[in-house]
C-alpha cells in the first residue's frame, strides 16, 4: 500500500475539493519558489513514496519565476535520486491553475498507480525506524564568531 504522497502546492486552490485519500498530504506554500531541494529530499528520506510539486501555470506566477525555479529544483532532486539508484519519477512537477481540482486528483491517482505497478516502497519499513538524522544540534551557538 502507498504510505504517503507528499504534495507541495501554492495558492488557495480548490484542491481540497478533489476528494483525495488520507494518504496524500498537501503542504501549502506561498509560492512553489519557496520549495527547497531539502524539503523534497527530506520527504522521501522520511518515508514518502512520492512527492509532487504543483505550481501555477508557466507565465502566471505571482512572483514571476517561482514556478520556474521550482521546476529546476525538482529536476535537481530527480538527478540526486537517480545518483543513489532511486526512481527519479518519484519526484515530479506539475503546473495547474487553481480551478483544476479534478486534474490535481488525477495526477495523484496517476502517481499512486505507477507506485503500485512499478516502484514499490521507497525505503523498507525496518530502515525507517528511528528518527532520520539531519543537522547535528550543538549546545553552543558560535554563529558569526571567528569570521
Amino acid at each position: 500500500l502507498l504510505r504517503f504522497l507528499r504534495v507541495f502546492g501554492c495558492g488557495p486552490g480548490r484542491f481540497h475539493e478533489a476528494g483525495l485519500s488520507s494518504q496524500i498530504k498537501i503542504i501549502r506554500v506561498p509560492c512553489t519558489g519557496k520549495v527547497d531541494v531539502m524539503h523534497l529530499l527530506r520527504a522521501i528520506q522520511k518515508g514518502a513514496d512520492g512527492v509532487y510539486v504543483v505550481g501555477c501555470l508557466e507565465g502566471a506566477c505571482h512572483y514571476n519565476e517561482g514556478n520556474l525555479r521550482a521546476r529546476e529544483r525538482v529536476n535537481h532532486v530527480r538527478m540526486l535520486l537517480e545518483e543513489i539508484g532511486m526512481e527519479a519519477d518519484r519526484v515530479r512537477m506539475y503546473n495547474l491553475s487553481s480551478g483544476e481540482g479534478p486534474t490535481f486528483a488525477a495526477y495523484a491517482k496517476e502517481m499512486t498507480e505507477e507506485y503500485q505497478e512499478t516502484w514499490g516502497p521507497t525505503l523498507s519499513r525496518e530502515s525507517l525506524k528511528g528518527k532520520p538524522r539531519g543537522r547535528v544540534k550543538h549546545d553552543h551557538d558560535w554563529s558569526g564568531e571567528g569570521l
Binding site: E83, L128, G134, H138, W142, G146
Partner: protein, 170 residues
C-alpha cells in the same frame, strides 16, 4: 578562493565503506560560494548518504554539521572554536567523519567529499575565473597583475622572458 566540485556519490560511498557513523562537515567559506560544500550541500549529501545506506540495507548513522569559519586557530581570524565545535560532536556518538571540504583538525579519519578544481575568483553567479595555480613563484609584480601561468604555463612564461614588450605582458 578555492573552487571545488563534489565527488560522485559512488566514490564517497566507497570511501565510507566500513564506517558505521559518519559526520558530514561543510565549510561556510570557499566551498559554500561555489555550491560544492556549504550548508545546504552537506545537508543534501547527508540525506543522499542516509537514503543510499538504507537502500543497501545498512541503517547506519549519519549527521551533518556546518562550520562558518576556518577551524585552525590563528588563521583568517579563526579562534579555533569551530574546531572545538567539531570535536564536541564525538559526544553525539558520531565517531567517523567524512569531510566535504579539504583540511580539518581531527583525531578521526577524515575523507574529502569534494575535488578542488582551481583557485580563482567569483566574477558573478556561477562565473569563476582561474587566477592562481599555486606555483609558489609569483611574478605578478613583473607582469602587472597578469599571471602567466593559468593560460599557457610554459609557453607564455618563456615568451615573456624572451619578449618583455609583448602586448599581453604589458
Amino acid at each position: 578562493m578555492i573552487v571545488a566540485k563534489r565527488k560522485p556519490i559512488e566514490e564517497i560511498k566507497e570511501m565510507l565503506k566500513g564506517y558505521k557513523k559518519v559526520l558530514n562537515v561543510g565549510c561556510g567559506t570557499c566551498v559554500a560560494v561555489c555550491l560544492a560544500g556549504g550548508e545546504k550541500e552537506v545537508e543534501v549529501l547527508n540525506a543522499q548518504l542516509d537514503m543510499a545506506r538504507k537502500l543497501d540495507g545498512r541503517p547506519d548513522r549519519t549527521g551533518c554539521l556546518h562550520l562558518r569559519a576556518t577551524m585552525r586557530p590563528g588563521v583568517s581570524g579563526g579562534s579555533g572554536r569551530e574546531g572545538e565545535k567539531l570535536r564536541s560532536h564525538s559526544f553525539h556518538g558520531l565517531r567517523r567523519r567524512g569531510s566535504i571540504h579539504c583540511g580539518a583538525i581531527s583525531d578521526k579519519p577524515v575523507f574529502p567529499a569534494v575535488d578542488t578544481t582551481f583557485i580563482g575568483v567569483n566574477q558573478g553567479v556561477g562565473w569563476y575565473e582561474e587566477r592562481c595555480r599555486s606555483c609558489s613563484s609569483c611574478v605578478l609584480g613583473l607582469t602587472g597583475g597578469v599571471c602567466p601561468s593559468p593560460c599557457a604555463p610554459r609557453a607564455f612564461s618563456t615568451a615573456l622572458a624572451a619578449e618583455p614588450t609583448k602586448a599581453c605582458a604589458r
